[in-house]
């Protein structure tokens, strides 16, 4: 069962990492930000699965921290990607 | 098995060093420097993991060192960013492109 958790976690991580190519492709700041957001929730999922797989209760707290910071990062990205886009248009 | 991360750490240090040399903008130099620092922290983490003894899964002393290091690295980054901003502002006032 522990092996299953870890493999599922690695699978999700690799999947969402492929999605990171959107950061390269763009074209908008919003697209780049969404790729990062997907990596964020994928990372949270992987962290939860790692917590179960390595039987580390503390990893749950790390996941909780991730969940809170993902929101802060998402807001910061949206606000600044709008700014970056505007200055690019200038 | 934690040696895998040791090799990763060595590569991270190399990557950061490369970025530190080739980038011309200060922001990217700071970012590269942070990657380099993360590599060194990771190396300390591997050493801590190998030092498992006395019923502890890892040697807590290097780990505590890394926690302190992360915060100090952040202070340096913040100071660097503040310097960049001020430089930018001064450039703008002097009418440089």
């Amino acid at each position: 069962m522990r092996e299953f958790y870890l493999l599922a976690g690695v699978f999700i991580l690799l999947t969402v990492a492929v999605g990171l190519t959107r950061v390269l492709l763009g074209p908008r700041g919003a697209d780049r930000m969404m790729a990062a957001q997907l990596l964020g929730s994928g990372g949270i999922a992987a962290m939860l699965l790692t917590a179960a797989g390595l039987e580390s209760a503390a990893a749950l707290d790390v996941a909780l921290t991730f969940a809170l910071l993902a929101a802060v990062a998402a807001v910061a990205f949206t606000k600044s990607s709008g700014r970056a886009a505007r200055t690019e248009e200038d | 098995m934690s040696e895998i991360f040791g090799f990763t750490a060595a590569c991270l240090v190399g990557l950061g060093l490369y970025g530190l040399i080739v980038h011309s903008s200060a922001l990217r130099k700071i970012l590269s420097f942070n990657v380099l620092g993360s590599g060194i922290f990771l190396l300390l983490g591997v050493i801590a993991r190998r030092g498992a003894a006395a019923g502890l899964v890892a040697d807590p002393v290097p780990q505590a060192l890394v926690i302190t290091g992360i915060v100090v690295a952040f202070s340096a980054t913040a100071l660097g960013v503040a310097l960049i901003r001020r430089l930018d502002e001064d450039d703008e006032e002097e009418g440089e492109p």
């Binding site: 069962m1 299953f4 958790y5 599922a8 699978f11 999700i12 999947t15 969402v16 492929v18 999605g19 190519t21 959107r22 908008r28 919003a30 697209d31 930000m33 969404m34 790729a35 957001q37 997907l38 929730s41 994928g42 949270i44 999922a45 939860l48 699965l49 179960a52 209760a57 749950l60 707290d61 996941a63 909780l64 991730f66 969940a67 809170l68 993902a70 929101a71 998402a74 807001v75 949206t78 606000k79 990607s81 709008g82 886009a85 | -």
Partner: protein
């Protein structure tokens, strides 16, 4: 009983992983920003939701379970709000041009 729960966990976690795969494919293959946003929110909400659901029977009761649910609720709130922000930004950009 615990074997049945294990099977339930396996199914739910696998389904969740599939949603992450689908979300990534959508993010890469869908033609415009708003439909990509749709794909992303499915992965966020359902993928993570299914994994949390699958892990619920396996964690320490009640605080572990409480933390798991809290993680999911926080991600839901963040994803809902930032989707709104992204969508407004995209639409606002179109209206202006």
């Amino acid at each position: 009983m615990s074997e049945a729960l294990d099977v339930f966990t396996r199914i739910a976690v696998s389904l969740g992983a599939m949603f992450f795969l689908a979300g990534t494919v959508g993010l890469l293959r869908f033609p415009d920003t708003l439909s990509r946003l749709h794909a992303l929110t499915k992965a966020d909400n359902l993928g993570l939701g299914l994994i949390v659901l699958g892990l619920l029977p396996q964690v320490a009761w009640p605080f572990g379970a409480l933390k798991l649910v809290l993680v999911w609720v926080l991600v839901l709130a963040a994803s809902a709000a930032s989707s709104q922000l992204v969508a407004r930004k995209v639409r606002g950009g179109k209206d202006r041009s």
